[in-house]
């Protein structure tokens, strides 16, 4: 009974989303140029990549691939110099790279390619929808592919997401439609030391790099 009700609700919602996407579509916001220095440090990249092989063996291969390349990854991250943190996670059927870094997004990706491009090539081989590789040769395609696989970052100020919405009662629907197009979403972020770069923190701590 509960199963039937849940599925009926989901069917109705799916229809309503289909209807409202046509009647009152919302665009995924594209964040503009950042004017403040504070906005250009500690940026997040949440890369979510579907595994090609989602069996237990396939997942084990993903873990082994990261483990086998840990020196290349850590040395590369150290050499980039602008990375606050980087995590390599297996979440369900997705391989995820969650990082916090300073500076421009595309420059960061190109840094990645130059310092551990071969690890990315290894990753690409185990994901479901790979871009052309090697990534050093197809860097533009790779940068675009990364953008397509990033989780959408919801801003702290919800009204900023839908600046054209003239009726606040519709914000909830706008959010439903946005989530239908962007299933992977970062819904909050916190930093214990906002607005400070990796360089400032390492200098203050006297640990160089």
């Amino acid at each position: 009974m509960r199963w039937t009700k849940l599925h009926a609700t989901m069917m109705v919602e799916r229809f309503l989303i289909w209807y409202w996407k046509r009647r009152a579509p919302v665009a995924t916001p594209q964040w503009g140029w950042k004017t403040s220095l504070a906005d250009n440090v500690q940026q997040q990249m949440n890369l979510i990549m579907p595994l090609a092989d989602t069996t237990g063996v396939g997942k084990a291969k993903a873990v082994q691939m990261v483990a086998a390349n840990i020196d290349e990854l850590f040395t590369g991250l150290n050499n980039i110099g602008t990375v606050h943190s980087a995590r390599f996670d297996l979440i369900g059927e997705y391989l995820c790279i969650i990082t916090v870094y300073d500076g421009d997004h595309e420059v960061y990706i190109r840094d990645f390619i130059s310092v551990f491009g071969s690890v990315f090539d290894a990753m690409i081989k185990i994901v479901a929808d790979p871009p052309p590789w090697p990534c050093e040769l197809y860097s533009a395609e790779f940068v675009k592919w990364i953008g397509d696989h990033e989780g959408f970052q919801v801003p702290y100020n919800l009204t900023q997401m839908f600046p054209d919405e003239k009726n606040l009662e519709n914000l909830s629907r706008d959010l439903v439609l946005l989530l239908a197009d962007n299933p992977y979403v970062q819904i909050g972020r916190f930093s214990g030391y906002p607005a400070l770069s990796t360089a400032q923190i390492r200098l203050a701590a006297g640990i160089e790099w």
Binding site: L16, S36, Y156
Partner: protein, 344 residues
């Protein structure tokens, strides 16, 4: 008190607020009418004097009077209602001066200037607004809209619909209105975060001027009540003395420093959480005041009561609030106003 142009505006602001509460009692505050006073002391952090030359940050510690309140202008206590909460703090400086910090549980305001605020307050006048019937609820479901909530479910008269309509027509009111829709009711006045709304000009010993926004954050953490559980209408007033008999309530004073391009004169603009955040010190709230009327209810708190080093920005709402608070204090025979004046 002669009413010049500014006083005229103060009177209009005061009247607009009072009109939103038909049962408002003459001689009381127009909003944040119900409150409870306490005392404590503030100890600045090591970082505070590096950023600010204001006396309250010079150390070692400063006695403080604190008034916690509900946002409503009604004389009837409804701690259980979904409402903004206030925390006004008066620093009693060693030099004999005073400095106030007035904060509420909203991070952002509804209006950029007094005219907008008058329009907003007019829109918020209570009107009969019954809960939607079955047909309306079905339509809302089809529109993928959530069930509407009402601050006080027992009262079919409120200004929420008017405020929503106003915000739909005025973009500047939208962030504040959305924040108000997301409000929660705290388990204690000591378990909520309070924000000063406006930017202030902060001067450091080396002469650098920064625009900052200030917040009190509870060391015990923020904790809302379970909205499905009924709580007494005066539970916040009763909880504070009990809590302070056990231990002091502690708040950390934090500031966000404006980045390039941030609106420093507009309280309707939210700053991103990526701004430099500095701990300025800790407030210990130690005991509830014995004489609530003399030491708290009569006392004037004013967001423009500042001292050199931490001064008001050019925010038109802040300027207007300063004068409106003085007018309100004069009307109710309060003490400590006008700022720097003699008449109370």
């Amino acid at each position: 008190m002669a009413l010049g142009t500014d006083d005229d505006l103060s009177q209009r602001l005061f009247d607009a607020l009072v009109a939103d509460y038909p049962d408002h009692e003459v001689g009381t505050r127009p909003v944040h009418t119900i409150g409870i006073g306490a005392r404590g002391y503030f100890t600045p952090s090591n970082a505070a004097p590096k950023y600010c030359v204001a006396e309250q940050f010079a150390g070692p510690s400063v006695p403080v009077t604190i008034r916690f309140s509900n946002g409503s202008g009604s004389p009837v206590e409804h701690d259980d209602a979904l409402d903004v909460r206030g925390m006004a703090a008066k620093f009693h400086l060693a030099s004999g001066g005073k400095a106030d910090l007035i904060m509420i549980t909203l991070p952002v305001f509804f209006a950029r200037d007094p005219d907008e605020f008058l329009g907003f307050a007019r829109a918020g006048r209570p009107a009969f607004d019954p809960l939607p019937g079955l047909w309306q609820r079905v339509m809302d479901m089809l529109r993928l809209r959530p069930d509407p909530t009402r601050p006080d479910p027992k009262n079919p008269y409120d200004g929420a619909a008017g405020v929503l309509q106003y915000a739909n027509l005025h973009a500047s009111a939208r962030p504040g209105t959305v924040s108000a829709l997301l409000l929660v009711t705290p388990t204690s006045y000591a378990r909520a975060t309070y924000h000063a709304l406006h930017s202030f000009r902060m001067t450091s010993p080396d002469g650098i001027v920064r625009f900052v926004r200030l917040s009190w954050e509870p060391v015990a953490g923020v904790r809302p009540i379970d909205p499905t559980v009924k709580v007494p209408e005066d539970y916040l007033r009763c909880e504070l003395p009990e809590r302070l008999q056990r231990e002091p309530a502690r708040f950390v004073l934090r500031m966000d420093v404006a980045g390039q391009g941030d609106a420093v004169n507009d309280p309707t603009q939210i700053w991103d959480t990526t701004r430099l955040r500095v701990v300025l010190g800790e407030l210990l709230v130690t005991e509830v005041l014995a004489d609530q009327t003399r030491d708290c209810e009569k006392l004037s708190f004013n967001p423009t009561r500042v001292v050199p080093g931490l001064e008001c920005s050019d925010d038109p709402i802040l300027t207007a609030r300063g004068k409106a608070y003085e007018y309100s204090c004069w009307l109710r025979g309060g003490s400590g106003c006008p700022i720097g004046g003699e008449w109370r």
